[in-house]
C-alpha cells in the first residue's frame, strides 16, 4: 500500500501557502469482489484506489478538497483547491481547530492479514461454499450474491504535528436464495459483515437463506391488524438503531436541535433492560480504531445505561459545542471504505453496541403469547426525528402461544421506535453487526429484541 505517506506533505504545503491550520487524510485500499448469479461466479473484480482529502483553515474559514492520489502533483492540486476555497467560504464561528494529540496503537482484530491477502480465487471458494449450501436442495438457487473483501490503510496528518495511522479489513456479503416455480417464488435475503473472512460461516448462511426463501414462498397476505409483541431480527433492527438512536445521541444533531433526546441526559428514554454504548476499541469491531478519522483518540463510552440517557458522542467541532470529549469524527464506512477521502469527517457512531441479554432467540419467542417475528423488512426505515415507521415485512412469521405459526407477507409493521425503546420486553444474547447505508459511517452490533406496542397491518 502506497501513496498515503504523502499526507504530511499536503499539510506542509498548505501551511506554506498561507493556511493557519491544515489536515490531510490519505487512504488506500484494495478490494476484491465475486458476484454469484444463478449459482455461478458470473463476475469478479479486482480494484484499488488511493485518495487524499485536505482541509485548510485560515482564521475561522475552513475549506475542503479531495482528489484521487496518483502522484505528488495531485497533492499540489488538492492543496491549491482547498486554498482557493478559503476565498469564498464564509467564516464558521464554531470551528475549534484540529486535534493536538492522536490516538496511538492498534485495536486487535481490526486488521486480519489472511483476509487482506486473499485473492479472487480464495473469495470464490467462500462464495461457492455459500452457493453449495443453498443449492443442497435442488429446489433452491442463488439468483444473486455479492462477496467482497477490502484491505485498507490510512494516515491522518495535521499542522499540530498529529500523525495517526490505521489499517483494517472489511468483509461484506449480500446474500439471496430463491425457491419456487411457475411464477410463484420465495426469496430469502441476508447480509454478513466481519473483519475476518474466516469468522463467517458461509455454509450456515446458505442454510439460513434457503430456509428464509422457503418460508417466504409459503407466506400468505396478512389480513387485518395485529397488536402485540414484535420480535425483531438483529440485522434490520441494527439499521433502525443506527438511523434513530445513532441520530438521537449524535452531538451534531443535539447541537442543531434535531435530536429528540437533546436536554434529556439523566432521564429515562428506554426500558431498564436497554444499555447502549459506542465502542471504538471493541476488538474485531468493523469501525474499531484507536483514532477517529480526524485523528482524535477514541474512547468507549456509555450512551444509555439501564434505560437512562448518559450522554452523546461528537466530532471535534461539536464536542466543543456540547461539552463532551471528541473522538467520533468519521468518514469511512464499514461495508466499504471507497469514497472516504472525498468527504470531511462528521459526527458518527463507531460501533454502536446494544448490550446483549441472556436469552436465546428461542427463549424470546417462547415468551410471546401473540405477536410477530420479523426476520427481514423491505427496508428498515424509521423517521429519525419523530421515530415513526411503517415497514413492509418480507420474512415474517406469526407467533401464537410461544410457537412460530403462519408465515405472512403484504403487511406493514407500524409504530414509533422511540416509544418502542420504552417498551422492550426482551433482549437476546447474540450480537450481529450491520450498517445503515453503503457510504454512511457507523456500525451497529445488536441482539434480537422483543418490543411491545407495535402493530402489524395487512389488507382489509
Amino acid at each position: 500500500m502506497d501513496g498515503i505517506d504523502l499526507a504530511p506533505d499536503a499539510v506542509r504545503r498548505a501551511r506554506s501557502e498561507g493556511a493557519d491550520a491544515a489536515e490531510a487524510y490519505a487512504i488506500t485500499f484494495t478490494s476484491r469482489s465475486v458476484y454469484i448469479e444463478d449459482n455461478v461466479p458470473k463476475v469478479a473484480e479486482d480494484r484499488s484506489e488511493t485518495g487524499l482529502g485536505v482541509r485548510a483553515a485560515k482564521a475561522k474559514r475552513v475549506a475542503f478538497s479531495a482528489t484521487t492520489l496518483a502522484s505528488p502533483a495531485d497533492v499540489r492540486s488538492a492543496v491549491a483547491a482547498a486554498m482557493a476555497g478559503l476565498k469564498h467560504v464564509p467564516e464558521d464561528p464554531d470551528f475549534s481547530g484540529l486535534p493536538t494529540e492522536a490516538g496511538k496503537g492498534e485495536v486487535s482484530g481490526a486488521w486480519d492479514g489472511p483476509t487482506a491477502a486473499m485473492e479472487v480465487a480464495g473469495l470464490l471458494e467462500a462464495a461457492m461454499t455459500f452457493t453449495d449450501a443453498v443449492t443442497e436442495s435442488k429446489a433452491t438457487s442463488v439468483p444473486k450474491a455479492i462477496f467482497r473483501i477490502q484491505g485498507y490503510a490510512l494516515r491522518i496528518a495535521n499542522s499540530n504535528d498529529v500523525l495517526a495511522n490505521h489499517r483494517g479489513t472489511l468483509v461484506f456479503a449480500y446474500l439471496t436464495a430463491k425457491c419456487g416455480s411457475k411464477g410463484k417464488f420465495g426469496e430469502g435475503i441476508l447480509k454478513a459483515m466481519n473483519t475476518s473472512i474466516r469468522a463467517i460461516d458461509f455454509a450456515h448462511l446458505g442454510a439460513t437463506a434457503a430456509r428464509r426463501a422457503a418460508a417466504n414462498l409459503k407466506a400468505r397476505a396478512f389480513k387485518g391488524k395485529l397488536p402485540g409483541i414484535a420480535v425483531l431480527d438483529p440485522l434490520d433492527l441494527g439499521e433502525a438503531f443506527l438511523t434513530t438512536v445513532g441520530s438521537a445521541v449524535n452531538g451534531e444533531d443535539v447541537h442543531k436541535g434535531r435530536s429528540p433526546w437533546a436536554g434529556k441526559v439523566g432521564q429515562e428514554i428506554a426500558s431498564a433492560g436497554v444499555t447502549i454504548r459506542d465502542r471504538p476499541r471493541m476488538p474485531g469491531g468493523l469501525a474499531s480504531g484507536v483514532a477517529d478519522d480526524e485523528g482524535n483518540a477514541t474512547r468507549d463510552r456509555t450512551l444509555v445505561e439501564a434505560g437512562t440517557l448518559k450522554g452523546f458522542f461528537a466530532d471535534r467541532k461539536h464536542a466543543a459545542l456540547i461539552g463532551v470529549p471528541a473522538g467520533n469524527g468519521y468518514r469511512r464506512a464499514v461495508a466499504t471504505v471507497e469514497g472516504a477521502y472525498t468527504r470531511p469527517a462528521e459526527t458518527e457512531p463507531s460501533n454502536l453496541v446494544v448490550e446483549p441479554g441472556r436469552k436465546s432467540l428461542d427463549a424470546l419467542l417462547a415468551e410471546v403469547d401473540s405477536g410477530v417475528y420479523v426476520e427481514k423488512f423491505a427496508a428498515p426505515e424509521v423517521n429519525p426525528f419523530s421515530g415513526s415507521f411503517a415497514m413492509e415485512v418480507r420474512n415474517a412469521t406469526l407467533i401464537k402461544k410461544g410457537q412460530l405459526a403462519d408465515h405472512v407477507k403484504v403487511a406493514l409493521l407500524t409504530g414509533n421506535f422511540y416509544d418502542g425503546l420504552k417498551n422492550v420486553v426482551g433482549v437476546g444474547r447474540e450480537l450481529t453487526p450491520t450498517h445503515a447505508f453503503l457510504t454512511a459511517p457507523g456500525c451497529a452490533y445488536v441482539p434480537p429484541m422483543a418490543f411491545d406496542g407495535f402493530e402489524l397491518v395487512g389488507q382489509g
Binding site: 455461478v40 463476475v43 478538497s65 482528489t67 484521487t68 417464488f185 461495508a335 406493514l412 395487512g458
Partner: protein, 456 residues
C-alpha cells in the same frame, strides 16, 4: 486506452472495454445559517472489463503509471477465464456498431463558470428563508457534478461524453416539546446553473419550513387497504420500485422477476402506460450513452396496461434476443455494469388532478416520497412518503404524517381508475440491492388506485 484494448484482445477476451472517468464535484452545506462544508472533489480512474465465454472479469485503479491499465487488462481476462472455468454457462453479447463520437451536454450556464461565492450565497439564501419560530433546525445544500467519460472497446468504439448535474435542496426540522417533524424538497437535473437561477430561492426555503411546521399538527395516517391518490413523486416511486426493477433484463434471465413471463399480458388497467427513457431532456437520470456505449433510448415497458418488455445491457439483449436499450450502467469506473433504469415514469392520462380529488369519496392523497424498496421476486414494494392528506367527500382535508405504501404490484396497477394530465419527474439515486448507485429520475401523473397503507 488503446494499449489496454489491445492487451484485452491479445489475452483472448471475447469482448472487452476500457472506461476512463474524470469526475469533479462542488458541494456546499449550510445549517442554521452557518456554513458546514464547502467541498471540491476530483476523482479520476480507469476500469477494464473482459468477457470470456459467459464470465466477466474487472480490474480498475487510480494510478497514473503507464502500463498499469495494460496489466489490469491482462488481470481482467485472467479473472474472466477463472470464472468461465468455474462453470459459468456460455453466453453471447449483442454486438453494436463501432462508432467514434464526442458529445457535450446541453447546459446553458456551466456550473464551473459560476463562482464559489455565488453557490454559497444561493445555498445560504435557501437556508435563511426557512427561519421561523417553530423551526428548530434549517438546512440547505447545493451540489454540482461534471463527469467526463471515455470509452473504447474491442469492437472499435471510441466515445467521449460529459454529464453535468445540479441539485439544490432544503430540509427543515420543526419542533414542539418533544416532537420533531422534518420536511424536505429539492430540484435537480442534467442541467447547469440555470436551474438555480430560475428558482425563487426564498420561496423554495419558506415552502419547506411551512411543510415541516404543518407536520407538527399532522395526524396518524389511516391504515389498511385504502383508495390512494398518488402524487407524481410517489407515482414515480411505484413505477421505479414496482415495475422498473422487475423489468431489468438480468433479473428476467435469472427468473428473479415476477414479470418474467408477462410480455403481452395485461399487468395494469388500460389507463397505465410506463416508460424508461434515458434521453428525457434535462431529467436527473438522462445519459448520452450507458456505461457500455449504447446510446440512451426510450423503452415502452407498459402500453395501455399491456406489458411490453424489458430493459437491457449488451449481454441481456444478446441472451434474450432483443435490441439493447441503453440500460447497462455502472456506478463508476471501479464498479461493474448492471442493467439499470434511467428516467422511469408512468405516462400522462386525460383527467385533471382536481377532478380526480373531487370525485374521490374517501382516501388519502400522498405528498412527496422519501424512499422505496423493490421486490422483483415477490412483486410487492415499499414506498415511504413524507406526508399526506385525508380525502373525504371530494375534499382534501386533514394532513397526516408520513405513510408507507405496500401491496401486490399487479393488483395495484389493475386498480388504477383515474390518471391526471399533469406529470413531473423527480431525481434521485438508485442502488441495485444495497449498492451500485446511479443517478435516476422517476415520476408520473396523479394516479388513483387501491394500496395497503400504514403509518406510525
Amino acid at each position: 486506452m488503446s494499449a489496454a484494448v489491445r492487451a484485452l484482445e491479445k489475452a483472448g477476451a471475447g469482448f472487452g472495454d476500457v472506461r476512463r472517468e474524470d469526475r469533479t464535484a462542488f458541494v456546499v452545506r449550510v445549517a442554521n445559517d452557518q456554513i458546514q462544508n464547502v467541498n471540491e472533489v476530483r476523482r479520476r480512474g480507469w476500469g477494464v472489463r473482459a468477457f470470456f465465454n459467459g464470465a466477466w472479469g474487472y480490474a480498475s485503479g487510480t494510478s497514473a503509471r503507464s502500463g498499469d491499465a495494460v496489466q489490469a487488462a491482462r488481470k481482467a481476462v485472467a479473472i474472466a477465464r477463472a470464472g468461465a472455468a468455474a462453470g459459468v454457462p456460455t453466453s453471447k453479447l449483442r454486438k453494436m456498431p463501432s462508432t467514434t463520437i464526442t458529445l457535450e451536454p446541453k447546459v446553458r450556464i456551466e456550473p464551473r463558470d459560476v463562482s464559489g461565492e455565488d453557490k454559497v450565497a444561493a445555498t445560504m439564501e435557501v437556508c435563511r428563508a426557512q427561519k421561523r419560530d417553530e423551526v428548530a433546525n434549517t438546512n440547505a445544500s447545493y451540489s454540482d457534478s461534471d463527469w467526463t467519460f471515455e470509452l473504447a472497446n474491442t469492437w472499435g468504439a471510441c466515445l467521449q461524453w460529459r454529464e453535468v448535474r445540479v441539485r439544490i435542496a432544503a430540509q427543515s426540522v420543526a419542533g414542539e416539546g418533544d416532537r420533531r417533524e422534518a420536511a424536505y424538497d429539492f430540484r435537480d437535473g442534467t442541467t447547469g446553473w440555470e436551474l438555480v437561477k430560475a428558482l425563487d430561492l426564498a420561496e423554495f426555503g419558506r415552502g419547506v419550513a411551512r411543510d415541516a411546521v404543518e407536520m407538527l399538527s399532522a395526524a396518524k395516517p389511516p391504515s389498511g387497504l385504502l383508495t390512494v391518490v398518488t402524487d407524481p413523486g410517489v407515482s414515480g416511486l411505484l413505477a421505479h420500485e414496482v415495475m422498473g426493477h422487475a423489468s431489468e433484463g438480468d433479473e428476467i434471465i435469472k427468473k428473479r422477476s415476477f414479470l418474467t413471463d408477462q410480455v403481452g399480458k395485461r399487468v395494469g388497467s388500460p389507463l397505465v402506460s410506463m416508460y424508461d427513457d434515458g434521453s428525457y431532456p434535462g431529467a436527473h437520470g438522462s445519459i448520452p450513452f450507458d456505461a457500455e456505449g449504447t446510446p440512451a433510448h426510450k423503452t415502452t415497458v407498459i402500453d395501455r396496461g399491456i406489458y411490453r418488455g424489458f430493459l437491457h445491457s449488451l449481454e441481456t439483449s444478446g441472451m434474450l434476443k432483443a435490441r439493447p436499450t441503453g440500460n447497462g450502467r455502472a456506478q463508476d469506473f471501479g464498479r461493474r455494469v448492471w442493467v439499470r433504469m434511467t428516467n422511469t415514469y408512468f405516462g400522462a392520462g386525460r383527467d385533471k388532478k382536481d377532478e380526480i380529488l373531487e370525485e374521490t369519496k374517501s382516501g388519502v392523497l400522498t405528498r412527496k416520497w422519501i424512499s422505496g424498496m423493490e421486490d422483483p421476486v415477490g412483486g410487492s414494494f415499499q414506498a415511504v412518503t413524507q406526508s399526506g392528506f385525508r380525502i373525504q367527500k371530494g375534499e382534501v382535508g386533514e394532513r397526516v404524517r408520513g405513510m408507507t405504501l405496500t401491496g401486490n404490484a399487479l393488483s395495484i396497477l389493475k386498480s388504477v381508475d383515474r390518471v391526471s394530465k399533469e406529470i413531473s419527474l423527480d431525481g434521485g439515486s438508485c442502488g441495485k440491492g444495497e449498492e451500485d448507485y446511479v443517478p435516476v429520475a422517476a415520476g408520473g401523473p396523479y394516479m388513483r388506485c387501491k394500496i395497503v397503507v400504514g403509518g406510525g
